[in-house]
């Protein structure tokens, strides 16, 4: 069971420069939990201080939006997640 998480470029400094990380989990939430265990600096970027997914984080499973299921969306071996941060510059 291996899920690939693609990290938004603006968070690469929090994953020691890794652009993708392989994790295990049955749903998106478990995958992100493992990701954060390995890279704790990601936690405040992804979750607010009440543990809720920040509204400026978008999660895509196999390039389709996981909203509104997000953290509870099931994943299977070989799936690919993208954790994207909203950007607003012009």
């Amino acid at each position: 069971m291996s899920i690939t998480i693609n990290i938004s470029p603006s968070m690469h400094h929090l994953t020691d420069g890794q652009t993708t990380v392989k994790v295990e989990g049955d749903n998106v939430g478990q995958c992100i939990e493992e990701l954060i265990r390995r890279f704790p600096g990601l936690k405040p970027r992804i979750f607010d201080n009440r543990g809720k997914l920040r509204k400026y984080i978008d999660i895509y499973v196999n390039k389709e939006s996981s909203f509104p299921k997000e953290l509870v969306q099931p994943v299977k071996d070989g799936d690919e997640l993208h954790i994207m941060l909203l950007v607003a510059g012009g």
């Binding site: 938004s8 470029p9 400026y56 390039k63 993208h82 909203l86 607003a88 012009g90």
Partner: protein, 248 residues
């Protein structure tokens, strides 16, 4: 009708299959609203002017600063301290004197947005903040005006095209906001994204190709990757969902 000079100037795009004189005439008749004369506005407006768009209405209330010059290529060192819209208009008119450039020095707000976009067929999102993008998206939906989204940060950018009533809108895809900040950016990023927005505008007007509709395109300049995400209309979207929500 195109003049002889115009036919010669645009000959290389008129010769494109599916473009032709008809496509060029459609561009000449089009009136495009460009929200922002910064990085995205510089590149999108430059290529829309070069392509022979009829009218570009550029709206911005900022003045040119030295720190703008790494990316806002319509503004030059001698423009520092000038209104951005005036500086942009001068360059665009030099590039293509046949294009009508309307320079509007105003901040886009809920109160003036309807007046500012009146008479325009399309909206190019070249803003630097999400609240104004949401305002533009909302009015685009209400007035049935196609909306061409772009945004950048560092080496990363994104683009998406919204066709009201048919495709996902910005609020179907983005739910939150982020604090306004002085964001890092390398000039090539808004150049890439602004050109993608201009490409979408031209395709829409001429009626060629497949738009970035229901597709969010992410550009990662550091790893030189384009990734496309499928997005869908959200039935509960506060802007385009049914019934109409609170429109925040």
């Amino acid at each position: 009708m195109l003049t002889k000079d115009e036919q010669e100037k645009y000959a290389r795009q008129i010769m494109l299959k599916g473009f032709g004189l008809t496509g060029q005439e459609k561009l000449k008749k089009a009136r495009v609203f460009i929200a922002g004369a910064g990085g995205l506005g510089s590149s999108s407006a430059t290529y829309l002017a070069a392509a022979g768009l009829g009218t570009l209405r550029i709206v911005d209330y900022d003045k040119v600063e030295l720190s703008n010059l790494n990316r806002q290529v319509l503004h030059w060192p001698e423009d520092i301290g000038r209104k951005k819209v005036g500086s942009a208009k001068d360059k665009l008119k030099k590039l293509n004197p046949q294009v009508a450039v309307e320079a509007v020095e105003e901040k886009i707000t809920q109160a003036n947005i309807s007046r500012l976009i009146a008479g325009c067929d399309l909206i190019v999102d070249a803003m630097d903040n999400l609240p104004t993008r949401y305002l533009l998206n909302k009015v685009a939906i209400e007035k049935n005006i196609p909306f061409f989204h772009g945004a950048v940060y560092g080496f990363e950018g994104r683009a998406m095209t919204v066709i009201p009533g048919k495709t996902a809108c910005l609020r179907c895809v983005y739910r939150g906001t982020i604090p306004e900040e002085t964001f890092p950016v390398i000039g090539v990023t808004p150049a890439v994204i602004g050109c993608i927005q201009a490409t979408e505008v031209i395709k829409y007007i001429v009626g060629m190709g497949q738009l970035l509709a229901n597709r969010l395109l992410i550009y990662d300049g550091l790893n030189m990757k384009f990734t496309e995400f499928k997005v869908e209309k959200d039935p509960n979207c506060p802007h385009c969902g049914q019934p109409a929500g609170d429109n925040k």
